[in-house]
């Protein structure tokens, strides 16, 4: 290749290129890029320096304070410092890092650099995964930075290394899921929606912090305290931990796939694999929670609702530009696009009904799951399905040609839930409560939550039926309005090497 300018005019020292050896070739290019950028970003540098300075201050202050204290006082101070360390670390990896992830893909989309990335050998998945990995690497760097302070705390006594390491691992796992949610949602182009979801996420997290899920992270005795240790015994322990880890992995993959699908070029079919994965997860994970002879079966229902909701929300908000004729190449409900997503939703609906029958059969009243419990669970699952199915019909009716259905889907979802909540509040102040909920729950599915105490299988049946009607209507409208793409194959030629 000849040069554009006369090379003799260039300064001699500029004629040879500096070799960049900052990162190994074995690392994914996107990780290299993200680390090069991420470690220089003010948000990370400030967070890092802030943590360092606060922790250093805390350790120095406590060391002075306990210099002449008794052993019990030192242990007590050590516990306070541990809580402080973990609190700060949790704030960093559970809130700040996922919030940073919310900008990961949107900045690439906004600056149009995403097209250039997709024209390299990087697939949409590798791009999204690389960004997520980089966030977690930075979280690990933060952890490494606080470890020396944790060692100092060891000298104060009363430290349970196993318990605290378990807490850190659990926090990392949860942080991985949250960061994946942040990165996945960052593909949603509307900054308003991203902000709303971020706020809702933080509120949900704070609520969860008070629950048992975060006992791992904040209690120093999840492995030793009474009730939890009873739960965590023998094969039950293995099944529940395996189920939880698999659920976390599935959620991480699903959130990342949500982002990858929205940035992938149309030629990249991401739908078939992730929809099959959702079906597998829907059968494996609830089974793991249902098997132990303890009260963990409730987690089966939670897992069913979470897996179904996430898979359905993703499938129903896929770009519809590339609707293929039914029966082409692969099973038609696994093809990309929301019209096929609605058909996939019908399959999930059937899977949910099947699961409920199986679990209701397995879990008799001897395990504390009576008929009333079954009715509540059936209504909860039905409400969940209805909430995530309804936006598909709104898209099919009002914006069938939208090229950004994810925005509309999420906005409809939020709007419907919010309005439902308002009606629920109004309903609770009215005499003869339940009327408004019964009348409007097909329009505002979150109203279903207000009628749980009615405890009726009939209501659950209506919810499943309504969700099925929504999904079937969306599929029919979608396939009618979107002209299928015709892939014209080139005549067989031997292109030059």
């Amino acid at each position: 290749m000849s040069t554009a300018t006369d090379s003799t005019t260039s300064p001699p020292d500029k004629n040879s290129l500096t070799v960049l050896r900052d990162f190994s070739d074995r690392l994914s290019p996107i990780v290299v890029k993200e680390l090069r950028q991420g470690l220089r970003q003010p948000s990370f540098v400030i967070l890092f320096l802030f943590l360092q300075s606060v922790l250093a201050m805390a350790v120095i202050t406590s060391l002075f304070a306990v210099s002449s204290a008794s052993l019990s006082e030192r242990v007590q101070t050590g516990n306070v410092i541990s809580g402080f360390f973990f609190g700060l670390f949790a704030l960093s990896v559970l809130i700040i890092q996922p919030l940073r992830g919310l900008n990961a893909l949107s900045s690439e989309i906004k600056q149009k650099t995403i097209d250039l990335l997709l024209l390299t050998k990087l697939s949409a998945w590798r791009i999204v995964f690389g960004k997520w990995l980089c966030l977690n690497t930075q979280s690990a760097l933060l952890l490494v930075a606080i470890l020396p302070y944790l060692m100092m705390r060891y000298f104060l006594g009363g430290m349970n290394i196993l318990s605290e390491l378990g807490g850190i691992l659990a926090m990392f796992l949860v942080s991985g899921v949250f960061c994946a949610a942040g990165v996945g949602l960052s593909a949603v182009r509307s900054i308003i929606l991203r902000t709303i979801f971020a706020i809702l996420g933080v509120i949900a997290l704070i609520t969860m912090l008070q629950g048992s899920v975060f006992l791992f992270a904040f209690s120093r005795g999840p492995f030793i305290s009474g009730s939890v240790s009873t739960l965590m015994s023998g094969s039950d322990w293995t099944l529940i931990i395996t189920g939880s880890v698999l659920l976390a992995i599935y959620l991480t993959i699903s959130f990342l796939e949500f982002g990858a699908t929205r940035i992938a070029p149309p030629s990249e079919n991401r739908s078939t694999r992730k929809r099959l994965l959702a079906l597998i997860a829907l059968f494996v994970i609830p089974t793991l929670f249902a098997l132990p002879e303890v009260d963990s079966f409730y987690m089966s229902f939670i897992a069913i609702v979470i897996i179904t909701a996430l898979a359905l929300a993703d499938a129903l908000s896929e770009n519809p530009q590339h609707v293929r004729p039914m029966g082409e190449n692969s099973f038609w409900m696994l093809r990309p696009g929301w019209p096929s997503g609605a058909l996939f939703g019908l399959m999930l609906l059937a899977a949910n009904i099947f699961w409920l029958f199986v679990l209701f059969g397995l879990l008799d009243s001897s395990r504390g799951f009576d008929s009333n419990g079954q009715k509540v669970v059936a209504q909860l699952v039905g409400t969940g399905l209805l909430i995530v199915s309804q936006p598909a019909l709104i898209i099919a009716l009002f914006r069938p040609y939208s090229r950004e259905p994810a925005n509309l889907y999420l906005a409809s979802l939020l709007g419907s839930v919010a309005l439902g909540m308002v009606i629920l509040m109004i309903n609770s102040t009215m005499r003869g409560s339940g009327n408004l909920c019964d009348m409007f729950f097909p329009l505002f599915p979150s109203l279903g939550l207000g009628t749980l105490e009615d405890e009726s299988f009939g209501k659950a049946f209506v919810m499943f039926l309504t969700a099925g009607i929504y999904l079937a209507s969306a599929a029919i409208l979608g396939y009618n309005r979107w002209k299928p793409v015709v892939v014209t194959k080139s005549p067989v030629t031997n292109p030059p090497a």
Partner: protein, 333 residues
């Protein structure tokens, strides 16, 4: 004849909107082809389909004989794409940016080092290798974008508005780079609103309107379609005391006044024959009007573009970007 780019009955519909409508054309290997059309004509959509960033509703699109829908990964290997809007990453130097792209394109170790050296020398990026990529001038950024597109040595280059916003010097440099690439046998498809430059750079021009092909050929065939009257144009300076130029014009057959100047004027004779020019020149001198300058007026691509838009019976868009000076008429003194 080997084909660099082939499009056959290509359609791209967004709901009811037909962005590309039964478009067909071929560009032979090694040709530089200009892609012309008003805003919204379907240029970028076509280019995005060719770059595997979009898929057609129907039809065939091939790069180097490889179908973009059937084998997008192979196409990406053969294709260099330069988008109309190019942004670089913050907190990254030019070298780091190029290094990242080379990694992403599969180059490793010494091979990457050698390839980067070659491309950065070609695009004259060596002197700015350490500069932050986000602080480059527009011209430097375009060179960086071209360098990025060339890392994997593609056979076909698709450049969407590559000269937009460049200053005259950067534009000249860019044209030079395009000529060098063409001399190396690469096939280039360039869209631009600066039509005079396309005329200079391209062997072939493709004109699309509302997603349909309306003309394909070299610059001269496009100009010949224009109905604008062309002829010889003279700048004439009047000698004081002699008759004013406008009076002289009024009595001359086939001569028209184009512009009255302070000490003379600009006139045009209709006709395209050399003897007409010679006769007029003799008459001018004979009547005491001193001709200062004359040249053969040629149809330019902008005029041809506007005429074609009129032919298509649509409102005429302004094809030249704001702030871009109208290119001067080629003169032959």
């Amino acid at each position: 004849m080997n084909t660099g780019i082939r499009i056959q009955n290509l359609n791209r519909h967004f709901g009811r909107l037909k962005a590309v409508d039964d478009l067909s054309f071929e560009i032979p290997v090694g040709q530089v082809c200009g892609f012309i059309g008003a805003n919204g004509a379907g240029k970028t959509t076509t280019m995005r389909i060719l770059s595997t960033l979009d898929t057609p509703t129907s039809g065939i699109a091939e790069i180097g004989g490889v179908n973009v829908i059937q084998e997008p990964a192979k196409v990406r290997h053969r294709l260099g794409w330069m988008p109309d809007h190019f942004n670089v990453y913050p907190h990254m130097s030019v070298l780091e940016f190029m290094d990242f792209n080379a990694r992403a394109l599969g180059f490793e170790g010494k091979e990457r080092q050698m390839r980067l050296q070659e491309v950065m020398e070609f695009t004259d990026l060596m002197t700015i290798a350490g500069q932050p990529a986000s602080k480059l001038s527009k011209g430097q950024t375009q060179r960086l974008c071209l360098g990025r597109a060339l890392i994997h040595d593609p056979d076909v280059l698709i450049l969407d508005e590559p000269a937009a916003g460049l200053d005259p010097r950067a534009r000249v440099e860019f044209k030079h780079l395009v000529r060098l690439l063409a001399s190396e046998g690469k096939t280039l498809l360039i869209s631009s609103h600066i039509l005079s430059e396309l005329g200079e750079m391209c062997n072939n021009l493709i004109f699309i309107h509302e997603g349909r092909l309306v003309h394909q050929g070299d610059a001269n065939t496009l100009k010949r379609r224009s109905k604008k009257v062309i002829g010889m144009q003279y700048l004439v300076e009047c000698v004081p005391g002699k008759q004013p130029i406008d009076q002289w014009c009024s009595v001359q057959p086939d001569v028209e006044m184009v512009e009255q100047l302070e000490n003379g004027g600009r006139i045009r004779i209709k006709g395209d024959q050399a003897q007409d020019a010679a006769a007029l020149l003799a008459r001018l001198v004979q009547d005491g009007l001193a001709p200062m300058e004359f040249h053969h007026e040629q149809q330019n691509l902008e005029d041809a573009f506007i005429d074609m838009m009129r032919e298509l019976d649509t409102p005429i868009p302004i094809p030249i970007q704001s702030g871009t000076p109208t290119p001067p008429l080629p003169t032959s003194k």
